[in-house]
């Protein structure tokens, strides 16, 4: 079975727009939250967002957007993008650079791309409003490909001339973890030699505010304590946008190109709660089954795992459910395995979360640290028994697990190993 390595990463996130900044903020536990101006209205109960810095995408016209000068994007490409497409495009350029891929490495039938975003409610709203106001013939011909779920893969596959496998994944907050899992499978099965895994979200008012209707967002006004996974005083998640790209390659390609991998992906698993459309199973049954499946497929015993990057979003029910799942899987090892949620720093990236946090795991393995769980004052008694470091530990992990869960009770766990 071919081995699969992570050879390139690109980040446009609330805690940094390049590898070095992301590593520093993960180590030093600096969050990316701000009071979000569009939320500062009396009828909007939530106030804080994990904001993407140095990008201005609040216009419905992509030609109004501003972004760092290092990214040059032609109008022809920009016109069909949603904000999440721009973030992902920039992260793609970084990841390609990081992996040192040539044009020929990117555009060939053996290189594919799996992507996940929630589409762009922001642009969907805008184009539908125009449709109703001015009639359909005055609508942009690119309104659909810029708005619907799938906008990420449409745009990136065309822009980067991807010729291998491509599709989008839609399992809400587990989407890009699913994308990573199936990309791994394609490489292991010999269908592809290289895969880009992409997650991105607009992270703006239209993307985030509907979650307030579900009462799942934190109502904290202080950015320093808004996102506190596993804390007794947590009151919901803080949302974020951005884009993250991961390059996966088979061992043969790594050797052929002389690439220096960040980490190895050694397996994954998934399972569903079969319980509720939006609420996690109280005992975390699906999450536990996903972790068990992932460990089995990776030939890893629970005792070998050093660190779990939790899904924990800082919601009341979800964090407890995952804590129970962790206890069920790790049993007597629970006290030893370090568990933290980096959503305390970034916020919850929805479709972006799985690949973003998997990329954090790769950086932790490469740099030899375990990120602490920020903003944790008093652990929720329901989450007792877990080893949740409050500060970053400077030690080298060998095996790391990443959990992701989405609506409908979809659960994914991915297992990473230090590259050797």
């Amino acid at each position: 079975m071919p081995r699969v390595f992570i050879t390139g990463l690109g980040f446009i996130t609330s805690i940094g727009n390049d590898v070095a900044t992301v590593v520093r903020n993960l180590r030093e536990l600096r969050h990316g939250f701000e009071v979000y101006p569009p939320f500062q209205k009396p009828d909007i109960p939530c106030k804080v967002v994990g904001t993407v810095k140095d990008f201005a995408t609040d216009s419905t016209d992509p030609e109004d957007w501003t972004f760092p000068a290092r990214y040059r994007i032609k109008r022809e490409l920009l016109r069909s993008m949603a904000p999440n497409g721009l973030f992902a495009h920039c992260a793609m350029l970084q990841a390609i650079d990081d992996a040192k891929l040539t044009d020929a490495d990117i555009s060939n039938p053996q290189t594919g791309l799996y992507a996940a975003s929630g589409g762009s409610p922001f642009l969907t709203h805008y184009h539908h409003e125009r449709l109703q106001k001015f009639g359909v013939m005055r609508c942009s011909p690119l309104g659909i490909v810029a708005s619907i779920v799938g906008t990420l893969n449409f745009n990136l596959v065309a822009a980067f001339r991807i010729q291998g496998a491509s599709c989008g994944f839609s399992s809400a907050c587990a989407s890009s973890a699913h994308g990573l899992g199936y990309a791994f499978d394609d490489l292991v099965l010999g269908r592809q030699k290289r895969m880009f895994v992409v997650g991105a979200e607009d992270g703006n008012l239209d993307a985030i505010l509907p979650f307030a209707g579900m009462r799942t967002l934190s109502l904290q006004t202080d950015p320093n304590i808004a996102s506190r996974p596993f804390d007794a005083a947590r009151d919901g998640f803080v949302a974020t946008g951005g884009g993250v790209v991961m390059v996966l390659e088979t061992e043969d390609e790594v050797i052929r190109r002389g690439a220096k991998p960040h980490a190895e992906v050694i397996g994954w698993g998934q399972a569903s709660d079969g319980y509720n459309v939006a609420i996690s199973h109280p005992e975390g049954s699906g999450s536990a089954a996903a972790m068990t499946n992932a460990l089995r497929s990776s030939h890893v015993a629970p005792g070998e795992v050093d660190y779990v990057n939790a899904h924990a979003t800082s919601t009341l029910i979800g964090d407890v459910s995952e804590a129970r799942a962790l206890r069920a899987v790790f049993k007597e090892e629970t006290k030893r395995v370090a568990v933290s949620s980096t959503k305390a720093l970034t916020g919850h990236g929805l479709s972006l979360a799985g690949v973003m946090e998997s990329a954090f795991c790769a950086l932790a393995l490469r740099e030899g640290f375990i990120p602490g769980n920020a903003h944790l004052t008093k652990v929720d008694p329901e989450c007792a028994g877990l080893n949740i470091p409050r500060t970053t530990e400077n030690r080298q992990a060998e095996i790391v697990v990443k959990n992701s869960s989405g609506f409908g009770g979809a659960n994914v766990a991915v297992v990473f190993k230090r590259a050797m």
Binding site: R79, S140, P141
Partner: protein, 329 residues
């Protein structure tokens, strides 16, 4: 194209001659719509909306096209050559064309049918098309590729004295090709043991292309067509031969109308071989006259004349009737 005209007769009705009053909020909306266009584009649009004067339309249309062209290609548009091709020269794809149309519709307060767009290939096509719509004139004939069978069918000149192998004709120009085969009868004596295409025959070839333009591309009056029997040579000016042309050379011919006023049509013409200049004619003048479309003769072999070659699409509206008879009926 017959289909573009016949299926959209409603779109050719003139716009109201007295424009709607142009309110300050209209100006603000116009400024917003044209915010990425040059100030002169905006000015021309304001003038058009205030006066309805079609003179301002080309500046608006070119300004809007320019806004959608990648910055490094915009220089090409500065020279405003009507032969500039939208796809090949300016990188405008069909989606960009749609964006251009939506903005033109918005700014000039007109509506353009999708079918009408298919045939716009060159900057000149777009300008002429919009101009016709504004003035309520019949829509222009688009650039069409004319195969040898059809050239033979419509031309009063026939082999062995026909010097066009293929041609394309638009309302603003005609282009053609002729390969010197070496079998031309006059090459036996021009010259002895040294076949060279006579310059007078090359001038004749340009004249023939101009005849084809009059028959297939030139604007006509409603219900009228140009009669092939009425076209004759009257004169030429500024003719210079730059290159000896021999069997095997492919002549690339092009003519453009300079003045059209019945009964005289004056063209400028040139012939190239590859990138080399072969012949220049500053002016070639022909006489011509109209006849009633109903009385026009049908081409001998009645090649289906429906633009399949360009559109790659079968058209229900096709009929054996020659285009120029059908177009204004």
């Amino acid at each position: 194209m017959p289909d573009a005209v016949s299926t959209n007769s409603a779109t050719t009705k003139p716009l109201p001659t007295t424009p709607k009053p142009f309110a300050p909020e209209d100006e603000a909306a116009l400024r917003e719509a044209l915010k990425r266009c040059s100030p002169s584009t905006f000015e021309a649009a304001v003038q058009f909306r205030k006066t309805g004067n079609p003179e301002h339309v080309p500046a608006v249309v070119i300004g809007i096209i320019e806004r959608f062209v990648e910055p490094d290609l915009r220089m090409k548009l500065k020279d405003a050559d009507d032969d500039l091709r939208l796809i090949e020269d300016l990188g405008i794809d069909s989606l960009t064309m749609m964006e251009i149309v939506i903005l033109v519709e918005d700014v000039l307060q007109m509506s353009i049918n999708n079918d009408e767009l298919r045939n716009l290939r060159m900057v000149g096509d777009v300008k002429t098309f919009i101009d016709c719509k504004i003035r309520g004139l019949p829509l222009p004939k688009p650039t069409r590729f004319i195969p040898i069978e059809h050239i033979g069918a419509v031309m009063p000149i026939q082999p062995p004295f026909l010097f066009l192998n293929e041609a394309s004709v638009s309302s603003t120009a005609a282009n053609g090709k002729y390969k010197i085969s070496g079998q031309e009868f006059f090459l036996q004596g021009h010259f002895k043991d040294n076949p060279v295409m006579p310059a007078s025959i090359m001038l004749e070839a340009l004249g023939q292309l101009a005849v084809l333009y009059l028959l297939e591309g030139a604007p006509t009056e409603p219900g009228k067509v140009v009669s092939a029997q009425t076209i004759f040579f009257t004169g030429c000016e500024g003719v210079r031969a730059h290159r000896v042309c021999k069997p095997g050379d492919i002549l690339t011919l092009s003519i453009k109308p300079k003045r059209m006023k019945m009964p005289l049509a004056t063209f400028e013409g040139s012939i190239r071989v590859g990138s080399e200049k072969a012949v220049i004619a500053e002016e070639i003048t022909l006489t011509y006259a109209f006849v009633d479309a109903a009385n026009a003769p049908v081409p001998i072999n009645g090649v289906a004349h429906n633009g399949d070659a360009i559109n790659g699409k079968a058209q229900v509206a096709s009929s054996p009737t020659p285009l120029r008879a059908a177009i204004n009926s």
